[in-house]
Amino acid sequence: AQSVAQPEDQVNVAEGNPLTVKCTYSVSGNPYLFWYVQYPNRGLQFLLKYITGDNLVKGSYGFEAEFNKSQTSFHLKKPSALVSDSALYFCAVYNQAGTALIFGKGTTLSVSS
C-alpha cells in the first residue's frame, strides 16, 4: 500500500536560515509525490509535485523538493526561510489507483524572526 511518513511533528528554524521538512515514502510502482501547505484558517495549497524526470523539483513560494530513490525520500527545502512560511506542511502520494492522495500526518514549520 502507498504511504508517506513525516518523521518530525515540528521544525523550528530562524528566518534567513535554510529549512528542510522531511518526507519518506513507501510505494508499489512509480511514486507520484506531492507537497501541500496549510496556513491557519485557510485551505490546502499545492506547492509542488514529482512525477518523473529531474530529481529536483521547484515549486511555489521558492520551495523545492529533492526526490531520492535510493533513500525513498522527498524532502522539502528552501534556501532562506521567511516568517511567513510558518504553516503546516503535508507530504502526499497518489493511491495505487492513481486517483486520490494519501497524506502524511503533517509537519508544523515555525520560522522565528
Partner: protein
C-alpha cells in the same frame, strides 16, 4: 487552477442531526474528492465522487453515514448523517484538474458536534 467554494464554512450541530456540505467548482471536472481532517490529524480520504456514478468509499467510510451526491460536473454534496462528537472535523472538497492533473482543495467546512 480551480476555484473551489464550500458551504457552510463552519457549523455547530447537535448530536443525532445531519449536515449537508456543498462544494462548487468554477470549471467542469471529472473527479471530485471528499476528505476529512480531524483535529490535529492529517487528511483522510472519505470518498471519490464521479459524475453519473455512485461514489467510491474508502475503508472505514460507508454511504449510510456519508451520502454523497454529484449531480453535475461542477457540484457535489457530502452529508454527515446522525452526527456524534467524533464527527467533529474539517471536511474538505478537492478536485483534480489542469494540465498537470493537480489536486486543488476547497477552504474546508469546520464542523463541531456537541
Amino acid at each position: 487552477s480551480a476555484v473551489i467554494s464550500q458551504k457552510p464554512s463552519r457549523d455547530i450541530c447537535q448530536r443525532g442531526t445531519s449536515l449537508t456540505i456543498q462544494c462548487q467548482v468554477d470549471s467542469q471536472v471529472t473527479m471530485m474528492f471528499w476528505y476529512r481532517q480531524q483535529p490535529g490529524q492529517s487528511l483522510t480520504l472519505i470518498a471519490t465522487a464521479n459524475q453519473g456514478s455512485e461514489a467510491t468509499y474508502e475503508s472505514g467510510f460507508v454511504i449510510d453515514k456519508f451520502p454523497i451526491s454529484r449531480p453535475n460536473l461542477t457540484f457535489s454534496t457530502l452529508t454527515v448523517s446522525n452526527m456524534s462528537p467524533e464527527d467533529s472535523s474539517i471536511y474538505l472538497c478537492s478536485v483534480e484538474t489542469g494540465p498537470l492533473n493537480e489536486q486543488f482543495f476547497g477552504p474546508g467546512t469546520r464542523l463541531t458536534v456537541l
